[in-house]
């Protein structure tokens, strides 16, 4: 299912402002698109979560 423009723009703006890797940005956007369309595999979600960058000092 094609996402509507407002959601696409919101995802792009959020990802542009983030410091995440291109791989995370691509897969996170795809995850949302898939989630709107069909049941999503838990492993897909886990893989995307694991791609998040976190600072060492926390």
């Amino acid at each position: 299912m094609e996402l509507y423009n407002e959601l696409k723009e919101a995802i792009n703006e959020c990802m542009d402002a983030s410091v995440e890797s291109p791989e995370f940005k691509r897969r996170f956007s795809k995850l949302i698109e898939n989630f709107f369309d069909k049941p999503t595999n838990d492993n897909d979600i886990k893989e995307v979560v694991n791609l998040v960058q976190i600072s060492e000092d926390r």
Binding site: Y4, A10, I45, V49, N50
Partner: protein, 636 residues
């Protein structure tokens, strides 16, 4: 995704023992407009409620009495059914609500034509529809006058929720919930090395802190709601007291003078506040201590003599010169060294900014303007208090003269003011940002501290279960989802608002009515209320705009849309409805034919249905055709 209603069937539902209503043109395509005439008492509201229940799945929560409400009065009937025939994209779905009158139970069945297996238990929707078809959203397209009022009522957030559900922003919440579940599973699987007791302790700590935090959030929402109600009542009472005083010939002149002084003084206070806010942008006027420190900073900056040319750019140029200013040759080694150290010096742009600050600090002059403005504000606030006391005194005079009504109102007002005072005290503790602003706060009565305590307990639990990194990452993903949800909602609200105003303009031509914003509900621009007919017109415009450009194309089912409309507005509404909606199922009674239903007599794609109880109360028949529909109206 296109959703169409193709018809429905009643089996043993109240006064209808067996009846099929087919809205199609015979090829699984419904007419754009289906007008259903059902006189009062035939089951119009029942039909609409059953449609809602079939689509939103709410019948599973019905109690025995509610189920038995649909039982026919005739014979000994133990079961009933309402079957809704729909078309979702190109597939035909029958959603069946089975009512077991004997046991007082409702259950759903689904039948998809062309699918093996025939009738399935449950209400089995296509995946994309499962997040959309809930009670709140179904009420948006199976519509009645009450829903229209809710769209404009400030007491709920129906309008915003409709956008959330239609555009499935709630799916982002579902994704967050799924992430939480995965983290919890990981926590449950990573308890090695921990005793059962210590795991249980850290988990209980976390759950307790979470409970306190959520309770405080609930409490805040409750207080906000209560304060709105109390303030509204307070204003009503003040208005009533004001009217009573104005009606007294002796006091009315004095009251008029006090009212006029109050307006003038309130204006002065607003002006004082504006000037103070502007004045505070110059900190040297706020407090002598700031003035002293800024002067000291200015002196230091003059003494330091900021370099005008010894900047990063100077060293970058120097590195590329053959000789240094001291005469030494600059080779590759020296060049590398200079370039590395150039970064330690300020750039030209930073120097420009610092010099601007230095000049500004050197030239400013502190004045007493801000202090004078604060004094003036205090005087005006005192004056306003005196005016209010004067108004109260007028009320007391009437009370002493034996006016019971004013006594009652003033007692109620005093009680409300007390409640508001207590409520505000509690609220201030809840929302205080730190102990400096309220020393009584702790992590059990303040939201910010409770959130911090909850986060700490979560961290402890995650550290204990070796899932801290996973937890941190999942929180970050959830923050992204929140930001996306918020941003998408704002963008959608703006689009729907623009389109709604265009639609309103084309329906209501006699007055300029505009929606200012969607803030939970629709907020009117420069007015507080509209007529009942206008409320309907606004609600239709809003729903039409909502569906426009959505990936879901729903039918629009309306119960008696024209009953409350003036004859002059009816025609305009009847013209706009087919423009806004691709499929309309309109339930009417005979009084809605004039100027509304009859507007569709020459419409190219319309069908007319008249459902009536004919031979006794239990047998209903459905007659299709304009002539019968029209003559039925005349008989009535």
């Amino acid at each position: 995704m296109k959703i169409r209603i193709l018809g429905w069937e009643y089996i043993n539902i109240r006064r209808i023992n067996n009846l099929t209503v087919d809205l199609t043109k015979g090829n699984s395509i419904p007419h754009q407009i289906s007008l259903i005439m059902m006189p009062n008492g035939t089951g119009k509201t029942t039909t609409i409620n059953l449609m809602r229940a079939v689509l939103d799945g709410s019948a599973l929560d019905w109690d025995e009495d509610k189920v038995r409400e649909f039982k026919p009065q005739y014979g000994n009937v133990s079961k009933g059914e309402f079957r809704l025939k729909t078309k979702i994209n190109d597939d035909i779905y029958y959603f069946i609500l089975c009512l077991d009158y004997e046991n007082g139970k409702a259950q759903y069945k689904t039948s998809r034509t062309g699918e093996p297996g025939g009738l399935e238990d449950g209400r089995n929707l296509p995946y994309q529809l499962s997040g959309v078809l809930n009670t709140q959203f179904v009420n948006r397209f199976i519509f009645d006058g009450e829903q229209a009022k809710k769209t404009l009522s400030s007491e709920n957030d129906e309008a915003e929720k409709a956008i959330t559900y239609l555009y499935q922003l709630n799916e982002l919440d579902n994704l967050k919930a799924k992430i939480d579940l995965l983290v919890k599973q990981a926590q449950d699987n990573n308890t090695r090395g921990m005793t059962k007791q210590s795991l249980s302790y850290t988990r209980t700590q976390m759950e307790n802190k979470e409970r306190i935090y959520n309770e405080l959030l609930r409490k805040k929402a409750q207080i906000e709601k209560r304060n709105i109600e109390l303030t509204r009542r307070k204003e009503q009472i003040q208005e009533s007291i004001s009217k009573i005083i104005s009606s007294d010939s002796k006091l009315k002149d004095e009251k008029a003078k006090l009212d006029s002084d109050k307006i003038e003084t309130s204006g002065f206070i607003r002006q004082n506040i504006d000037n103070i806010l502007k004045g505070m942008r110059e900190p040297f006027n706020v407090n002598p201590c700031f003035d002293q420190r800024l002067k000291s900073l200015s002196d230091n900056m003059q003494k330091l003599k900021l370099p005008k040319t010894m900047s990063k750019e100077f060293f970058n140029e120097l590195a590329n010169s053959p000789y240094c200013i001291c005469g030494r040759h600059i080779g590759d080694e020296e060049k590398k060294h200079i370039l590395e150290n150039a970064e330690s010096f300020l750039g030209e742009d930073q120097l420009v900014a610092l010099n601007a600050i230095k000049d500004k600090l050197k030239s400013y002059v502190a004045t007493d303007e801000l202090r004078n403005e604060i004094d003036s504000l205090n005087q005006n606030v005192r004056k306003l208090e005196e005016i209010d006391a004067g108004l109260t005194r007028l009320g007391l005079q009437l009370k002493e003269q034996g006016n019971d009504e004013i006594e009652m109102l003033q007692n109620e007002l005093a009680e409300i003011e007390k409640q508001l005072h207590d409520s505000n005290r509690e609220y201030n503790i809840l929302v205080a940002v730190d102990k400096d602003s309220n020393s009584k706060i702790n992590d059990e009565n303040n939201i910010k501290l409770a959130a911090a305590a909850f986060n700490l307990a979560k961290e402890n639990f995650n550290k204990a279960t070796n899932t801290f990194t996973l937890y941190q990452k999942s929180e970050k993903v959830k923050q992204y989802l929140d930001a996306i949800r918020k941003s998408a909602l704002e963008k959608l609200k703006l689009r729907v608002l623009t389109k709604t105003n265009i639609n309103i303009n084309s329906i209501i031509k006699t007055e300029k009515i505009l929606i200012d914003k969607i803030d939970g509900n629709l907020v009117l621009k420069n007015r507080k209320a509209v007529s009942e007919g206008q409320t309907l017109a606004i609600a239709y415009s809003y729903i039409g705009s909502l569906f426009d450009e959505s990936s879901f194309r729903f039918p629009f089912v309306i119960d008696s849309p024209a009953v409350s409309l003036d004859l002059s507005v009816r025609k305009e509404v009847s013209e706009i409805l087919p423009v806004l909606f691709e499929q309309l199922v309109i339930f009417v009674i005979s009084s809605e034919v004039a100027n509304f239903a009859d507007s569709y007599y020459d419409f190219p794609d319309v069908a007319f249905y008249t459902i009536e109880a004919k031979d006794g109360p239990e047998n209903a028949v459905c007659t299709i055709g304009k002539d019968y529909f029209d003559s039925f109206q005349k008989d009535e």
